[in-house]
Symmetry: C2
Subunit: 197 residues, 2 copies
């Protein structure tokens, strides 16, 4: 629709997740029409990120070095490992500032439909980490959905053979949410997990 290269940029932007043709067009024109927008910085960052960033050899989190800043930090509790599906989950948990242990990123969840089995996840690496007896507790923080629950159940079974405490993040009503609008499953979980005051 547009002269060559503008259309090419729109097409390429449209391949990014969550960006449809309309958004891609809007972004392309923003880049074209905003002299203050530093396009060379974005262009450079895209290239650099791919070149310089990879994944931590220990926990699988994104990292600019072989070992990520969390695994390198001696103030983080090495006896506590929080198992998550994705590096994005690490960032979400870090934002809470509640957790001072370390992480293990699985790289997904068990999903027979998507053809993802235990061997496709970083489970073997987790078992290796647990082998030396340092870790006292594993918190299973996979998503509270079908795949995440299946993965947590699988790991929990696997870990019974070791002398390590295994826990699962609490399910319940979201804080600030409205009971009226909670779905039945969440409300059910909230009852199940009720705490004596």
């Amino acid at each position: 629709m547009y002269d060559g290269i503008v259309q090419e940029l729109i097409d390429e932007l449209g391949r990014l997740p969550g960006i449809g043709p309309k958004s891609a067009q809007r972004i392309a024109f923003h880049i074209l029409q905003t002299p203050t927008f530093d396009v060379s910085r974005l262009s450079e960052l895209l290239r650099e990120v791919r070149e310089r960033v990879s994944f931590c050899e220990i926990c699988g989190n994104v990292s600019e070095s072989e070992i990520c800043s969390i695994c390198r930090d001696p103030r983080r509790n090495a006896e506590l490992i929080c198992v998550v599906e994705d590096a994005k989950d690490v960032a979400a948990i870090e934002r809470t500032r509640e957790f001072r242990g370390r992480y293990h990123v699985l790289g997904g969840a068990i999903s027979p439909i998507a053809g993802i089995g235990p061997d496709d996840l970083r489970i073997q690496q987790l078992m290796t980490r647990l082998a030396d007896g340092t870790v006292q507790e594993v918190i299973l923080a996979t998503n509270p959905n079908l795949e995440g629950e299946a993965t947590a159940a699988y790991l929990s079974r696997l870990l019974t053979t070791l002398d390590i405490a295994v826990s699962r993040l609490a399910s319940g009503l979201p804080v600030g949410g409205d009971l009226e609008y909670a779905d039945e499953v969440t409300l059910g979980r909230a009852f199940e997990g009720r705490r004596r005051l």
Copy 2:
């Protein structure tokens, strides 16, 4: 939240229109985790678009050359000019394949609130184009909103001094839409502009 450069990319992506912090994070991780995504192509296009693409000296549309492909095309009717606010509108009209004339991109609409007056738009350039008497009709295709209507009214008054037909795109019910869900203003316009069958 993330190691340096990843967060920098997320921040930079978040400055694009319509991309919030969550989408920016999702895009950054997509770029990191998808080996098949050709990051160098996007990186290159961003730079090239800004270097190579500018605006047509005649109509103000985006163009890789001084004169855009539409203004250069001898098959396009030079007697008919469609005035639009933005280059994106040119693309939208071209998609209809209904219009075979040429365009004039104003670069916005008159908006006292945003501090945009007639002098901030490419109105002088339009008058210069109309001066040689080639153009027989000007179609005002500014948006059917407050600013667009004000701009059309302003131009229509300005053009009465010239011997040129001036028209405005029809307002009315969108095709495929439902009368029940039309807003009052649109429905009123549809009555006003009703055609005898």
